[in-house]
Symmetry: D3
């Protein structure tokens, strides 16, 4: 059993579902986010309000931790300055503090958007060059490369979870392949924590969908075996899907709508699409 885990982004859609499972894997869980407080704090859990973009706060929080599960960030495309603060500087603050305090491993919520400009007809793996589709995706590339560097130079392990669709409902045809259920997301984090050695590993966060468009075979040693499958929604979803245009990057690329949304923009229309399964 681990002594201390730090969970950032603990108030988010994913983070809030990771609190209980992580609390069961360590003596002390320190949860953090921008919210003032969280409900249902476990006996061995402490909540600390903090900003991942604030170096001092991160340095203090991470002291004594064995692992950091870093899910705290803007989870959408946004102006560069905002992404810079929360996603770039947030990731830097976590790795820098981890190094200073001898943290053993970071489990990082990366994203498909680090690879979003690849066409779907290219099956993407964990060791192909980045092709980000947004400032958001670019911040994930940055953190992955930084994680690789801290592993190469200092032996700090990292598992980068390229989460495909933000978990939730299966709202469109893209999600038939990209869906990640909450249960599978929890399993993915559990395996990332309990596997004895992981080095530097990249794995896609998708459920066991019939139409999954990614290749996780190189990370099979983690033992991630997703249970859910979006195919049960296929008939209903496809019946209402408008005719596709294969020359539209939003439909052909792994990144979905992010492949065509203007950089830095997260307007209502795009946000709505994204909320349906990107």
């Amino acid at each position: 059993m681990l002594k201390k885990i730090v969970l950032t982004g603990a108030a988010g859609a994913l983070g809030s579902r990771l609190r209980a499972p992580l609390a069961a894997m360590c003596e002390t869980l320190v949860s953090t986010d921008l919210a003032a407080a969280l409900d249902g704090v476990a006996d061995n859990e402490t909540y600390v309000k903090a900003d991942v973009g604030n170096a001092e706060e991160m340095m203090a929080l991470i002291e004594g931790a064995e692992m950091v599960v870093h899910f705290g960030a803007i989870a959408d495309e946004a102006p560069f300055e905002q992404i810079m603060h929360s996603n770039f500087m947030g990731a830097y603050n976590v790795w820098n503090a981890a190094h200073k305090h001898g943290v053993r491993r970071i489990v990082y919520a990366s994203s498909i958007h680090a690879m979003g400009m690849y066409p779907k007809t290219t099956r993407i793996t964990g060791d192909m060059p980045h092709r980000p589709d947004s400032f958001y995706g670019l911040s994930k590339c940055f953190a992955e490369d930084m994680g690789r560097m801290y592993w190469d130079k200092y032996g700090i392990e990292a598992v980068c979870l390229r989460i495909y669709s933000a978990p939730g409902s299966v709202a469109n045809a893209r999600a038939l392949g990209s869906y990640l259920s909450y249960d599978d997301c929890v399993q993915l984090v559990q395996r990332s924590v309990d596997t004895p050695v992981v080095g530097f590993t990249v794995i896609y966060g998708v459920s066991n969908n019939d139409r999954s468009p990614v290749d996780n075979s190189a990370a099979a040693f983690l033992g991630y075996r997703p249970k859910d499958n979006a195919e049960e929604f296929a008939e209903a979803i496809l019946a209402k899907t408008p005719k596709a245009d294969p020359l539209d990057k939003a439909q052909m690329c792994h990144g979905g709508p992010f492949a065509t949304v203007p950089l830095g923009v997260s307007g209502v229309q795009y946000i709505k699409k994204m909320s349906e399964g990107n």
Copy 2:
């Protein structure tokens, strides 16, 4: 729901089993073959006698179609001139008409014989160079390359189904790996039609056989998950299989007997072997 699908080869062993499932996916199904008439024509199905090797007939049939499911061809090795008419010119007529009429996608019955000279110990994928084993296989190479060109130049999508064994019984040891059940073949065509975007994709048509010798992972986004498995017949089949000779290309190559049958020849002996599962 699609407006109009054209199915060629509708009277064939495979084509006849595709009529009902395709009719359920579109407003109008136009079926065609060389037969004078077909039984059991669905309400939204029209049968038209035509020759795929006849350019004018194909041009007329395909007008207004969104997709063409092109299964019409000689399904055996035959003299070059016959293959040229039905398979080469047939495929050209389909793509040419599709281009003229703005068809969105062609689902094409390619064949393992486009890759038949690879040894079985080489696991073949969808992006290795062709190695045909017959004029028949060569015509499949031609159509695949043509499909790639129409996609690259004009954005006409194509799914090339490299059907391994012609569906039917599991008659010999080769079929333990190469078997494609009718149900799985239908599923494969359904996925090729209902997937919103496919670009240019190659996928092998095999069931979920324990001994399947091909790699479909790059086309996984199609969601083809075969259900049948020839292994139930393994014990009986192997018990009557004569001792193999690994230096015999007919036994070592993916193409099976086609790897050694003389070009252009389809004698009784070879036909009989082929009917057992190539």
Copy 3:
């Protein structure tokens, strides 16, 4: 010294320059083309007027040959029916006759247009899948796949020369990379003939241009070491090159203008461009 070589396309721009070098490598050179007669026939050379698209004429010519150097074909995009006759049927007639008469090797004038839709930023090799840009290029794919089959099944060797730019002047920026001088073309054919064993080999026909965009390393055993280099024309050519558009396939793809010319069309405008270096 070889007993008999057959050269098709002997009256063409390339073929006419191959006659003397090939005559020096064999006891008897049989040259053929559509022209009524050729000038400067060597002592050991016989000219026979014939059409590569005519099976009987090819069967008669090739009898007794050890090698066929097959350069006879339409060297431009043209309506499918024309390409079918001269390029598809021409190649079939040559290989079929070679098989019937026990010819040992075919040296084949393939073309970059078998790979023309690849972007220039992809360095193309001899073992990547075809991506033709025209009916002309598609006929080269067909002949290469057929050559592979005759090698796999019958042991007939083939060297496929993917000639990049038709030799001649360096007329545009594309030719700075794609130029093939006549001397280098001759050397390429000589090596294809004098190398003792070649199996089935694909090699690009380009000179030693600084800006050569292809990879011939896999065929290095042939010993082709081009001597000429288009770079001497770079300054003059680039000074008059209009601003490029990287989203224009005609400028970004290996096939150059062929990547955008409509299929089957060879209008004056395109022919003029092609004559300048495709």
Copy 4:
């Protein structure tokens, strides 16, 4: 049904479990090992005491066999001279006798230790260069390369089973990925024997563990579908696993403790670790 199979190492932990299944696949099973006698000899089984390191004994035993299942060897790291006798010379004696007597196929108990120095974060396949971790592993490299040579030169088939963990209990975290159950080991040998043609094939011997760290896809045509899964022991095993050190090769490399044990040494401490699942 095969006429005669020879099984070496018939008294070993694995070999003893192969006797009955192999006896069921042939008219005559000849079992051999260093033991004086074996219990439970089948009606069509003959036991012969012999040393695989003794050329004459192997030559006599193998006469008339169609296949040899070669499991006889020191199954641990040991001084070079001992490995030389039993593992190097043993393998040579088997292949040499097989060649002299026209044996069709050898099923060989290779080992993960032929690849033991690869880090676990590299998913290993059957066609990557060897990286042995011990004299023991080096002897497996030798036999695999020799098997390849006899296939290339003489057409003698071979299936090299890179057994990961010696079957038995799941005793440590490494075994969660590397476990091979006895039943799955038997199935693996059965498929290696009953598949009509195998050429030269390498396959990893692991069960269907969630955390399996190897890639057997290239050998899928053998139809090996393991049934057991070490994951049922994961919770208990991981609870008692000490904190891992990713910079310790014994924890990071596929070979486990063999990656750090001094060459030639098999002290009590190391043997104990090995017996727990390497």
Copy 5:
């Protein structure tokens, strides 16, 4: 001839040598750096003092440019905040302004330190994943990924020059392979500017050293043919090279001393080593 080129870092060791060659390739060259003024300003050159880390200054400078040659940055490891300002924000400011102003291409001074943690026994290419060795190298990864994104989304071309050794003297054994002469650096920038289409291209900046440890073949279409060769210094350099330790990352990795220098540190000792050829 180009209308306007902007050169950043114009006062640096490399930038100062690029001014005259670039001035010869355009109607107007705008040079910029932190220096108050530059000597020897050409007739068609304008010098503007500006900070690449200042968004407004970059936005103003780049207006109307066809290309930006971006060499302005801290050329050493430094504390993260400094690298963030000059290298991360500098690169972002350049691409963002380029996008706003319709710039066609950016030629970017990337660095070997984006790949510095690869061992020298791995021949690195332009399409392998990043393995940075420093904050400095990480900033190059960021800019390359950003350049890829602007190409994928907006068609802005980029050539990323992974400069190996900063040009100058050949001071140590590493430089025998990594040396880039000033002349070759100028040629590399010239080819990056005059090649009509480049898409997104990565190329290593090394001279024609016998011991060059990188692979530029994929970018050969640029026509970069270096002329200088560090081998003339080999005998003298090697005679004074202390015994190497292959387990020392500073000696084994492509990044040289950067592979072991602590992140963010640029002390005198390290600077001195760096000045000798990293």
Copy 6:
């Protein structure tokens, strides 16, 4: 300058030419072979008669050495027992002694025959699996795998020189590609010794032949740039080369005659062929 180098096989055709160049690179050169004495011993050279197959003699000789240049072995196919003694045990004795005595690097005369069964149409690299053609070639596979292990476990460096043709005259068509001149062989050993760090590296020993059939690019950091070229003999050699048969492995495989010579046999006829250029 190195303190002590040990050269085995010092009386052989290659070894005798390495003595003077190696003596110039170290304070003390210890040369050894089976001969009673050598002529022309340098001032800093000591000759010791010894058998590489004798463990004690090797252990004594190697004490105090920084590097061993191991060329001593049977340089021909021979009965397994002879190869076992001189080539297998010889290599083991060298690496074992090197480990015991802290030797830093071994430069090893491997051979093309470790890869001899690959067809020439496959361009072979340093990281493809072995395909030996003889017991002789198998002993080279063994030593390479052992060298990899000592590097992985103990950090002992190795450069494996896969010498293609034994240097000497260019006697046949195969040698036009495979020729290695004495001068180039010396350069290859010099670079293998003077390169500061080499890890574990495999490189082919061929001259700068136009028809060189191997790929050394991965080992380019060694700086081996051969000067000689067998092409000057091409015309004469090819004029007397009998008609080749591409289905004859002796002509099609990299190993040449070794690909078909029976294992263990070195009859007069084969020896004569080998002496002409294998």
